[in-house]
């Protein structure tokens, strides 16, 4: 085994955190640079994996296996297939830019970066894990740093928001854990290795119930609508980088779990439940879009729009076709960086104006043009404009899910209009129009670290918008084993009456 690339990618932030622990808290600049270097290494390695992954060979590459808890067949098994590579890249981008987005934090810098790096580490771990137990460990490991990040460095209702997040996510985790137990004992082959479990044939009944259990657990993390109440508060309450990673990466953990675990292991269950998931997805898209429209607080609006956008992913997941699933995964990436950008901008404006109420800002484009342009790009990406990564994501989802759930797909697509409506309204009210308050006239524009955040993310948004096949091929390669287990896609299921195209 050569250099453990995946482990290094995952653990670089953690090692950074450990190094920071040894630095005196007063050396703030040193701490920040350590964090930047740690996440930078992670990013570099992730990019290396994107190009180093052998598409022709496919499968899990860069794998590392060490026995961990043989009694349960638990291994430390990390590796990367196309999906993992993509999402590790996402995590690395958000982690790296998150460090710079937090550069301005002055309060308890040392603890802040330790927490942030720990969170990045946990998120990356989820995407790299190919052992179910390990995956769950990383999954749950992320909760505590999230809590601390929000509760200590957050704003508005931070303690409430942090607690709500912790409770909801733990609830999801508990359900997932139960599902993992059941699947482990039902399989009865004494392994948590996803590759081996995927080879095991579960009976139809088992698949149906285990899929339901696991997906329910993961659905809290996504979140899918009736279980989403934690998200707007958490995303709003979190500090800038916290919101970035929450919206950019954490939201993907649950949906990733659905694909990686629930669908891969229980394809028949997925088929049975697909209509339900699809309906919920569309509810997510439309409902959250309307709720976002009704928000007065910029971050609440972005948070709700995230739910709406993840609805597209979930719809793609429900459709279970190649294009739809690939679109869903591409949406992870696209929405991840785009939401990170939007939250970064919301944070930058908040840092300057000390308000997040949309109506209280206005005309800021004159004062901070760079931030305005970045926000515009973020919003337009969110609207799914071609040329941004989001377009390909949404388009693939639509193409893939339209034949399966025509009616639902139409409803979901209507979301692009609503999104445009509230996103552009936000730009208009925050950045356009005459400067509303005189005291905002002398606010500074983007500082150098803001430039880093904005330019790195925008680079990826546009690059993946123009050259999507770089990631799309990786995703497709990663999806092929998962799709192999799925039956031929067909319209309808038991909700065929909603369809009717064929």
């Amino acid at each position: 085994m050569g250099f453990p690339v995946v482990s290094a990618t995952v653990f670089a932030p953690l090692i950074g955190a450990l190094v920071i622990m040894c630095v005196p808290a007063s050396r703030k600049e040193v701490i920040r640079w350590i964090a930047a270097v740690a996440t930078g290494i992670s990013l570099a390695l992730a990019i290396y994996m994107v190009f180093g992954y052998d598409l022709a060979a496919g499968g899990v590459q860069f794998a590392e296996k060490i026995n961990w808890l043989p009694a349960f067949g638990i291994k430390y098994f990390v590796g990367a297939d196309g999906i993992s590579v993509t999402l590790l890249l996402l995590t690395a981008i958000v982690g790296f830019t998150g460090v710079f987005a937090s550069w301005g934090i002055q309060n308890r810098v040392k603890e802040y970066y330790i927490t942030f790096l720990a969170l990045t580490f946990a998120c990356a771990g989820v995407f790299a894990a190919f052992d179910l137990f390990l995956l769950f460990v990383f999954f749950e490991l992320a909760v505590l740093p999230k809590y601390v990040l929000i509760a200590v460095w957050g704003s508005t209702k931070k303690e409430y928001a942090a607690m709500k997040l912790a409770l909801y996510l733990t609830l999801g985790g508990a359900i997932t854990l139960l599902g993992i137990f059941c699947l482990y004992f039902v399989a009865g082959i004494n392994t948590m290795d996803l590759l081996e479990l995927a080879r095991h044939q579960f009976t139809h009944n088992q698949q149906v119930w285990l899929f339901a259990l696991l997906t329910l657990g993961f659905a809290v993390q996504v979140p899918i609508v009736p279980l989403h109440s934690w998200l707007p508060d958490a995303h709003t309450g979190a500090p800038t980088a916290g919101s970035m990673i929450l919206a950019g990466v954490v939201m993907k953990l649950g949906a990733y779990g659905i694909i990686r675990v629930a669908i891969w292991l229980f394809p028949e269950g997925a088929v049975v439940w697909a209509p339900v998931v699809a309906i919920l997805a569309v509810v997510c898209v439309v409902y959250a879009a309307f709720v976002a429209m009704g928000q007065k607080d910029l971050k609440y609006m972005i948070a709700n729009s995230s739910i709406s956008h993840m609805g597209y992913s979930v719809l793609g997941i429900a459709a279970l076709t190649t294009a739809a699933l690939a679109g869903a995964l591409f949406q992870f990436f696209a929405h991840g960086i785009m939401a990170a950008l939007n939250f970064a901008i919301a944070g930058m404006t908040y840092d300057r104006t000390h308000t997040r109420i949309i109506a209280a800002m206005g005309g800021l484009a004159k004062v901070m043009p760079v931030i305005a342009i970045a926000f515009a790009i973020g919003c337009l990406a969110s609207v799914g404009l071609p040329g941004t990564a989001s377009f390909w994501a949404e388009f693939s989802v639509f193409v893939g899910s339209f034949p399966i759930f025509p009616t639902l797909a139409v409803l979901a697509i209507s979301g692009i209009v609503f999104t445009a409506y509230y996103m552009l309204r936000a730009i208009q009210r925050v950045f356009f129009e005459p400067l509303r308050h005189k005291e905002f006239a002398n606010l500074p524009d983007a500082r150098w670290y803001d430039w880093v955040v904005v330019s790195v993310i925008i680079f990826f948004i546009i690059a993946m918008g123009v050259y999507p096949s770089l990631l799309m091929d990786l995703i497709s390669s990663g999806l092929s084993p998962i799709l192999a287990g799925l039956p031929e896609p067909s319209a309808g299921g038991w909700l065929a009456f909603l369809g009717g195209v064929q």
Partner: protein, 474 residues
């Protein structure tokens, strides 16, 4: 082997006697901490002796005493819990005008009881070991001079424990009357036919109630919050970790082994009570404002989790119980170590944890990890333990019960994280940095290391537990 089988207990007991003797001949200033550390050393030696008994598997004293890996494992729990407690205890006791020698001697005697109990194979040994633990704890709880809460807690524990002993004895007497023996193996045979009178069921329930007090089984748990609050933190540390572990060992022996034939009676009861225990512990912990009370309810909830593994009635379940006991002991002791280091002066109010991260980052970090472990954040020890327990329950088919348990455990996040919030978010009520002795520091480092390492490298201990669990019969 003969007396060699009793070596750990003898070492602990003699250590206690030595300390008492020394107390008699010295003026014994309260500041002296050497007695406690001597006690810790004695326990370490006892632990080594116990380790040497691994794999021995011998029955002695005409079938009333057995040393097998199961027993040794619980002996180790007692030793670890006692030793760590004795490391940090004197720092607090010195402030409280309690001679650390007195404390150490009693801890050693209690530890003796805890080491004997898992080996006890007849009612008499079992009962007397249990009472040794109880009586030691009456004193340990109530010995804090000038602190009326301590005495109140002691009296409450004594009265309830006494009543529980009476019920336990009554139940034992009924079983004895019905089987004609106090030996667990003989009782097992007597009930192996499957036919038994209702009175036997009543007897087993009374035994369950009597032992239920020690293992925080609802509704026999009522003493716990008051005692936790009133007793000195080191006492509670040892009580929460060692006493319940030993009692659980007794439960495993009694119900798993001798009353196995009566499982039609006690199994459903335990099943329901386990869920009730988890629910009540977690729910009542929510409105608590005192850290020690909160941990009491948390102990109750955790007892519920462990019971799930007991009702699993499998080798994996037994292993999970043992594993849980060990990890829970380490975690709890660390938690009370932190409380003992500074919060005891305020009676352990959560308020006093405000801003701890600024007053003492180390203490706050230990508490953070401890609480996270209790809350089941992977990959800390608490998570691994919970994982083993619920896995055992599911493996035995209790999917719904395990699911309810897991969902109820979500509630616990709230109160654990509230404390974390207090430590890391709230402004400190007083800004003075906290000082503590190196004993405390050592204890906390050991606890912290245990929580993290046993979580990251769970395999050796779990394997030990699994191998030991093969000695339990069902």
């Amino acid at each position: 082997m003969g007396v060699g089988l009793l070596l750990p207990e003898i070492i602990a007991c003699i250590g206690g006697l030595l300390i008492l003797t020394e107390r008699l001949f010295s003026k014994g200033e309260p500041e002296r901490k050497d007695a406690a550390w001597f006690g810790a050393g004695v326990l370490v030696i006892a632990g080594v002796a116990a380790l040497r008994l691994l794999g021995v598997n011998e029955t002695a004293f005409q079938g009333s005493y057995r040393v097998d890996d199961l027993a040794v494992f619980f002996k180790l729990v007692a030793v670890v819990a006692g030793a760590i407690t004795l490391l940090f205890a004197p720092d607090l006791l010195a402030q409280r005008r309690v001679k650390s020698g007195d404390f150490a001697a009693l801890v050693l005697f209690a530890a003796t009881g805890m080491m004997l109990l898992p080996s006890a194979l007849d009612f008499i040994t079992l009962f007397i070991s249990l009472e040794l633990i109880s009586v030691s704890f009456y004193v340990l709880i109530g010995m804090q001079r000038g602190e009326v809460r301590s005495a109140e807690a002691g009296l409450k524990y004594l009265l309830l424990s006494g009543l529980a002993s009476a019920v336990l004895l009554y139940g034992m007497s009924l079983i004895y009357g019905l089987t004609g023996s106090t030996y667990l193996t003989a009782i097992r045979q007597a009930f192996s036919g499957g036919e038994w009178p209702l009175l036997a069921g009543i007897g087993s329930l009374m035994i369950l109630a009597g032992l239920g007090l020690k293992i925080y089984l609802v509704p026999f748990h009522m003493w716990a919050p008051d005692v936790y609050e009133g007793a000195p933190a080191p006492t509670v540390a040892f009580l929460a970790s060692g006493s319940s572990a030993a009692a659980l060992a007794a439960v495993l022996r009694l119900f798993g082994e001798s009353l196995a034939g009566l499982n039609g009676v006690w199994l459903p009861v335990l099943l329901v009570l386990a869920v009730v225990t988890i629910a009540l512990g977690n729910i009542v912990a929510l409105p608590q404002t005192n850290m020690k009370r909160l941990l009491a309810y948390s102990s109750i909830a955790h007892a519920g989790y462990i019971l799930l593994a007991i009702v699993a009635r499998s080798s994996a379940g037994t292993a999970a119980v043992m594993y849980y006991c060990f990890l829970y002991a380490v975690t709890t002791v660390a938690a009370f170590g932190v409380i003992s280091a500074f919060a005891e002066t305020s009676g352990g109010e959560i308020r006093s944890f405000a801003g701890l991260a600024r007053r003492s980052p180390f203490l706050a970090f230990v508490m953070l990890i401890t609480l996270a472990s209790l809350a089941g954040v992977p990959p800390l020890a608490g998570f691994m333990a919970k994982f083993a327990v619920f896995a055992a329950a599911v493996q035995s088919g209790y999917v719904v019960i395990a699911g309810i348990g897991l969902l109820l455990s979500v509630i616990s996040i709230y109160y654990y994280f509230m404390v974390i919030k207090a430590m890391y978010v709230d402004e400190p009520v007083e800004a003075t940095p906290i000082t503590y002795g190196w004993g405390t520091q050592a204890a906390l480092i050991i606890g912290l290391g245990g929580i993290i390492l046993l979580g990251l490298i769970p395999w050796p201990l779990l394997r030990l537990a699994q191998e030991a669990a093969t000695f339990a019969r069902f």
